[in-house]
Symmetry: C5
Subunit: 88 residues, 5 copies
């Protein structure tokens, strides 16, 4: 999983039928020593708000782990982060 910050949302009216009803959030991955930014889009079933830090699962984990095995989903918000205990 990666840690990301929710920075926006996406509106898409013409889309694959099995995506209808999902909310699409723009995620900025958080790297420690690296300001390079390569945003991604994840579905949100948890209710994350813009500005929150979230845990994002990618690949088949997003699709299968969120109960949508037949939808074209490759990233999902799976947790909202309260705290990161970090060393180093």
């Amino acid at each position: 999983m990666i840690i990301g910050k929710v920075t926006g949302s996406i509106v898409s009216t013409r889309k694959q039928d099995n995506l209808i009803g999902n909310k699409f959030m723009v995620i900025e991955p958080i790297h420690t020593m690296n300001s390079e930014s390569s945003q991604l889009v994840a579905i949100d079933n948890i209710g994350a708000g813009i500005g929150e830090y979230v845990l994002v699962a990618q690949g088949s984990a997003a699709r299968i782990g969120c109960g949508m095995p037949d939808s074209p989903i490759d990233a999902a918000i799976v947790g909202i982060i309260d705290d990161i205990g970090k060393l180093v």
Copy 2:
């Protein structure tokens, strides 16, 4: 999923049999602070036009989520983006 811009299309006559009938579009991923470009090719069942911004699913999500579980497809246009509400 990633956000991309449709920048072209591909013509391929000699190809894997289970790809016949698909349209192949060239996609330029959109990064926020990063001009590095690593284009990819995605199938299009939605009807995206050149210049449009699209949502692209990658990996097994593209193949299975678009109803072609037995085809060698690893990227698909799954939505056309009307608007991106962004913060930050």
Copy 3:
């Protein structure tokens, strides 16, 4: 698999139901000649401590190989490294 160092842990109370009971560790991948850092988050069923070097499996291997095929997990600590015998 990649070699990483456990640098912290994550607290997330609002999360996908099928993630409950897992421990989430922050992992710093170890590259040889490259100080670029792109941390990831992996579940830990082995009992790795902060500061330890671990073997991390990614993708469907993490989910299926750790006996949680229906959970949105894309990275798991699968071994604690005692020693790396290296040449070159």
Copy 4:
């Protein structure tokens, strides 16, 4: 899928049994504004020649989409490119 150029081939006599009979080609991915090169190796069932531009599928799409679901194959040439119509 990605666009690549076939730049060579690989000879491997000691290999996994379920790879026997496949042709392995070295592929140089084509990026638009980026000269960084990270070659990959793909199987070829289409008959691509050295110097040709090809469409390469990666991940489980290569293995399953080319009818070899039980072989350790993560990249396959799935089409030979005749023409790329590009805008920008």
Copy 5:
């Protein structure tokens, strides 16, 4: 698949049960014009020696293609390279 050089091996006594009995090798991917190094760890059932050039399959191909569909394995040495015929 990628081409890599075997540069070492890993000792891990505390590990996931379904990894027991595997040999873990450190692999340095070979890029053509790029000295950036991001090593990975792959299991070896072929018998590769340190210093040899190998073909490495990644993702579900490693796990399923090497007959260990239930193990947390995301990279495997699947061939030892005798020769690379290269153009360009």
